[in-house]
Amino acid sequence: MQYSQKVLDHFMRPHNVGQMENPDAVATEGSPSCGDQVTIYLKINPDTLVIEDASFLSYGCASNIATASIITDLIKGKTLEEAKKVTWRDAMEALDGLPPVKVHCSVLAADTVQTAISNYEIAHGLKEVPDFGKETIIEELKKIIYPQVGEDIVSLKMVKYVGFDDGNVLIDMNMMSFDQWRENVAQEIREHLEKYPAVKNIQINFP
């Protein structure tokens, strides 16, 4: 599958690209050592909690840049509550789809928006810093895309068991020994969980 015309348009002429002066919320996700990196800037009206402006920077591929472009379009003018419901699936739909192997590059931009919103809410006392636990792990696993089909590993029932005890994460995966994506998926799981200070050790088991 090729990129859609919409993806190419947003890649070649992205909307909302650039660093923002005095943003109300910022988040950077991803890391150049393992792949793409995205920074999202938000301008938020403190009274109405409406996102009045959004922009991004991306060290990433065409799929990543196009998603950052369209998702910043999608959240502009929305309240934080509304924007929290905007997912990578919405962005992908608005882009007329993505090749399955490129979906994982697109999730990063959507995640970064959510992190920026969360950062704002925590900074302004709108929510507590959430406790790290099994739920957090499952939420993170939902962001990991199985490249073969472009769906997340939780929806695809590839995660058999998740456990968390005293800093130790235990994940049992349901992936065949000949699956070429095992290594990719395991690495992504580590990258997603290692950023939490509560996580000391991650064990991923395959059958």
């Binding site: 992205p14 793409d36 991306s58 060290y59 065409a62 590059c105 990719n184």
Partner: protein, 397 residues
């Protein structure tokens, strides 16, 4: 400014030469017969195939009886590697290659491990060069095969073939020497007698011949176990049909390339030197991957552009009618960065931002100028979007 198609990904495959297509057409219509027949049609094809074989053999300083047509370089590598290890398995089960070899060799090595062979993988230095000393140290009493890729497919590093030869000659017992010459063929002179290889593979479509045909040189007296079985049409090592038109096209491509090999090499060297010079002059913070100058094949330039991602670069070049390759994980089907660059000690960022240009005799200086100009524009555009660039260049906000 000029637009249209500029093709600089010749290490994957090359456009067939027009003369090759003309030559092939004859054998797709009148001369389509297989040679294994005593009637006149079969005889005339047999003569034609013999002359194609002579042409390809001459280009390697081999005899025609040492030259076997195959359905491409990968087939040639498989017939050789599996054939020699199977025929020598009773004598020893140790094989040596390097981690930067072409996937044909590495996947065969993985297969050999699976069936009980032991494989030693030599490591490259920062330029992709695998030292003869490492080979010497890796040799054991039960070593039966050393295989190498003469020109690296990612960074163009030319391996020290003569030094390998000397190490193998000095070993206490016979070790089969197999060379994958698909990237080297037509880019540097190859003389199988001087290299003293036992088997060597080449491919037609890397030198403007048709896709789907290659050849395996097998030194006289070398025993290869039969790994493909079937009816003999053209060659004993690869039974079944091999297109007569493909062999005809291959021979024509060889004729064109080897009519003036030195001139061809000079042209490519001049052009790639110019490309590198222009890239370094026009694009700040760019770094060459692999060796500079004579240690590198004449058609390959591989650079890492800091702060930006290779798939985005190749997409933008593509929209400008320019085809190049990248080592970015985002552009690979397996979502993995280039194993060659990582083995050379480059990090993910350098692999992520790597762009590979592989030139052919059809590329011109004007094309190089256009490509560099577009790449400079694209680099500036993508850097303006990059958080890595912004955080390291705050003055350019």
């Amino acid at each position: 400014m000029k637009s249209g198609n500029i093709y600089m990904d010749n290490c994957i495959t090359t456009p067939p030469a027009p003369e090759v297509l003309v030559e092939m057409k004859t054998y797709l219509t009148d001369g389509f017969w297989f040679p294994a027949s005593f009637i006149s049609t079969g005889e005339s094809t047999a003569e034609a195939v013999a002359s194609f074989k002579q042409t390809v053999a001459d280009s390697l300083n081999a005899s025609p009886d040492e030259l076997h047509f195959t359905s491409g370089g990968t087939l040639a590598n498989n017939i050789s590697i599996k054939g020699v290890t199977l025929s020598r398995a009773v004598r020893g089960r140790h094989v040596i290659c390097s981690v930067v070899d072409y996937p044909d060799l590495l996947t065969n090595a993985a297969f050999l491990e699976k069936i009980g062979f032991d494989v030693s993988y030599l490591e490259p230095d920062a330029q992709g060069w695998v030292s003869p000393q490492q080979l010497k140290d890796a040799i054991r009493d039960d070593t039966v095969l050393f295989m190498t890729t003469i020109v690296n497919h990612v960074v163009g590093t030319i391996q020290p073939m003569r030094e390998y030869r000397d190490v193998l000659r000095a070993a206490g017992h016979k070790i089969h020497f197999h060379a994958d010459a698909c990237q080297a063929y037509g880019k540097l002179p190859l003389d199988v007698k001087e290299l003293d290889v036992d088997t060597l593979s080449v491919s037609a479509h890397k030198i403007h011949g048709p896709q789907g045909v290659g050849a395996l040189y097998v030194k006289r007296g070398t025993k290869l176990e039969q790994v493909i079985h079937g009816v003999k049409r053209i060659d004993g090592l690869q039974p079944g049909g091999i297109g007569i038109a493909l062999m005809a096209g291959f021979a024509k491509a060889v004729e064109l390339t080897f009519a003036d090999l030195e001139g061809g090499i000079r042209h490519l060297r001049g052009l790639s030197d110019y490309l590198l010079e222009q890239l370094e002059a026009r694009i700040p913070e760019i770094e060459l991957n692999g060796p500079r100058g004579e240690g590198r094949a004449c058609h390959n330039i591989n650079v890492s552009i800091a702060y930006i991602e290779g798939e985005a670069v190749t997409m933008m070049l593509d929209l400008n009618g320019i085809t190049v390759a990248t080592g970015s994980a985002c552009a690979s089907q397996g979502l993995k960065p280039s194993y060659v660059l990582l083995a050379m000690g480059k990090n993910h960022v350098q692999s992520h931002g790597s762009i590979k240009f592989t030139l052919s005799r059809y590329n011109t200086r004007e094309e190089v100028d256009f490509v560099v100009e577009k790449l400079a524009e694209i680099t500036a555009e993508l850097r303006s979007r990059s958080p890595l660039y912004k955080s390291t260049h705050p003055e350019e906000r």
